[in-house]
C-alpha cells in the first residue's frame, strides 16, 4: 500500500546504512545497478574499417549491446518478459539446473547504408535489426 511504502521510504532515508546492508546481503537483488541488465555503447566505425572509399554514408553507426544480470526482482524498467520473471523465480528455487534469463535486445532498429558497387553505381540499402534501442530480460 502507498502509506506502507511511504513509511518504508522514510525509514530508508533515515537509516541509509541499514538499507545498503540489506542490498549487499541480497546478492540476487536487481537493484544492484553495477550489474543490472542495460544497454551499453558500441560504435561500429566504417571509417576505422578503412571503407570510406566505397561507403558514402554513414561514417559508422551506434550498434550498442546489452549486458548485465537478470536477477530477482525483475523491475518493469528492465523490459522483462513474463517468461523471464517466472524463469527468475525458478532459478532462485533451483539455481543449479535453471539459469537466470538472458539480458538481450528487446527493440532493434534498422540502418540505411549508401555505398558504391564495383561499377560505381550507387546503392542505398536498409538493413534491419542493426541497432539495439532497448534491452531486457528474456
Amino acid at each position: 500500500s502507498i502509506s506502507k511504502r511511504r513509511h518504508q521510504n522514510r525509514n530508508r532515508s533515515t537509516q541509509p546504512q541499514e538499507a545498503s546492508k540489506s542490498l549487499s546481503m541480497a546478492d540476487y537483488n536487481s537493484s544492484d545497478q553495477k550489474t543490472a541488465c542495460k544497454k551499453h555503447e558500441l560504435y561500429v566505425s566504417f571509417r576505422e574499417l578503412g571503407w570510406q572509399d566505397w561507403i558514402i554514408a554513414p561514417e559508422g553507426y551506434a550498434a550498442n549491446y546489452c549486458d548485465g544480470e537478470c536477477s530477482f526482482p525483475l523491475n518493469a524498467h528492465m523490459n522483462a518478459t513474463n517468461h523471464a520473471i517466472v524463469q527468475t523465480l525458478v532459478h532462485l528455487m533451483n539455481p543449479e539446473n535453471v539459469p537466470k534469463p538472458c539480458c538481450a535486445p528487446t527493440k532493434l532498429n534498422a540502418i540505411s547504408v549508401l555505398y558504391f558497387d564495383d561499377n560505381s553505381n550507387v546503392i542505398l540499402k536498409k538493413y534491419k535489426n542493426m541497432v539495439v534501442r532497448a534491452c531486457g530480460c528474456h
Partner: protein, 262 residues
C-alpha cells in the same frame, strides 16, 4: 584492456571495456563479418575519381538524408558531397522510397548522340548495366532521369515533343527497331529533372538481359522537325556533372537473405 569507472550521482557504476587497436587479422575478420551482414561477397572497389559529384550519388544522398530524417535514429549531421542545391528527389520518389528495401542508381555506360542522315533524325542513346542487382530483390519501380535546362531558342508554340524509346532490335544495315515508351510535350523555358517511368522495360532487362539494348530519346518540334537533344536543353555527357542523366530503380526484398556458414 582497462577498467573504467563511471560516477552517476552517488552510485558508482563500473563498466569494463577493452580499448585497444584490433590486430590486422582481427580487423580482417571483422570486415568479413560486416560485409557478410551487408550481403556482399567482398568489398566493392569502385572507380570513384570525380563520380562522387555526379548526379546519381547526389540524388542517392538526397534519398539517404530523407530516410535518416524519417528514422528515429538521430542523424547529427546531414551527409553532403557537394554544394547543396534544391532536392533532387521528388514526392513520387519519396513514395517509392517508403516502400523500398533497396534503391540503386545506374550510370549510363554508353551515351552517344547520333543522327540518321537520310531522315535527318537526331537521337541520344543510353545503355545501363543491370547485371549487378543482388539476388532476391524485386524491382518495384524504375525511372530514367534527364536534366533539362532552359533554352534560349524558341520553337513553334514555345514547345517541343520529347519521345523515349526502348531499343527492341539492332540491325547492321538499317535503323534499330524501337518501341515507344512515352512522349511528352515540354516548354523551352522549362528547367529541372524529367522523370520517365521505365519500370516495365527494366524488369524485362532483369529477367532477360539479352533484351537489354538500351534506350533512345529524340526531340522534335510541333511541326515534326528533328532537334539535337542539346538544342532542347537536355543535358548529356558534356554537361555539368550534377546534371548527368541516370537511371534509378527501387527494390523490395522478395526472399530472406541467408548468410553462408563459415
Amino acid at each position: 584492456g582497462c577498467s573504467h569507472y563511471l560516477f552517476d550521482g552517488n552510485s558508482e557504476v563500473q563498466s569494463n571495456f577493452i580499448q585497444r587497436r584490433l590486430r590486422i587479422s582481427e580487423k580482417r575478420e571483422m570486415q568479413k563479418e560486416i560485409l557478410s551482414i551487408l550481403g556482399l561477397p567482398q568489398r566493392p572497389r569502385p572507380h570513384v575519381s570525380h563520380s562522387k559529384f555526379n548526379s546519381a550519388p547526389l540524388f542517392m544522398l538526397d534519398l539517404y538524408n530523407t530516410i535518416s530524417e524519417e528514422e528515429e535514429v538521430p542523424n547529427p549531421h546531414r551527409f553532403v558531397l557537394a554544394t547543396e542545391g534544391p532536392p533532387l528527389a521528388s514526392a513520387q520518389d519519396s513514395a517509392f522510397l517508403s516502400d523500398a528495401d533497396m534503391v540503386m542508381s545506374f550510370v549510363s555506360l554508353a551515351e552517344h548522340d547520333m543522327e540518321i542522315s537520310l531522315q535527318r533524325r537526331h537521337f541520344r542513346a543510353f545503355k545501363f548495366n543491370l547485371s549487378q542487382i543482388p539476388d532476391g530483390e524485386a524491382m518495384t519501380a524504375s525511372e530514367l532521369r534527364i536534366y533539362k535546362e532552359c533554352t534560349s531558342q524558341v520553337y513553334e508554340n514555345g514547345t517541343f515533343l520529347l519521345s523515349i524509346y526502348q531499343v527492341v532490335q539492332e540491325h547492321q544495315d538499317r535503323d534499330a527497331d524501337l518501341f515507344l515508351l512515352e512522349s511528352r510535350t515540354l516548354w523551352t523555358a522549362e528547367e529541372g529533372w524529367l522523370e520517365f517511368d521505365i519500370t516495365a522495360t527494366s524488369n524485362l532487362w532483369v529477367m532477360s538481359p539479352h533484351h537489354n539494348m538500351g534506350l533512345q530519346i529524340s526531340v522534335e518540334t510541333s511541326s515534326g522537325r528533328s532537334l539535337r537533344p542539346e538544342e532542347a536543353g537536355l543535358v548529356g555527357r558534356s554537361g555539368a556533372l550534377e546534371k548527368q542523366p541516370f537511371m534509378v530503380a527501387f527494390f523490395k526484398v522478395s526472399e530472406a537473405h541467408v548468410r553462408s556458414t563459415r
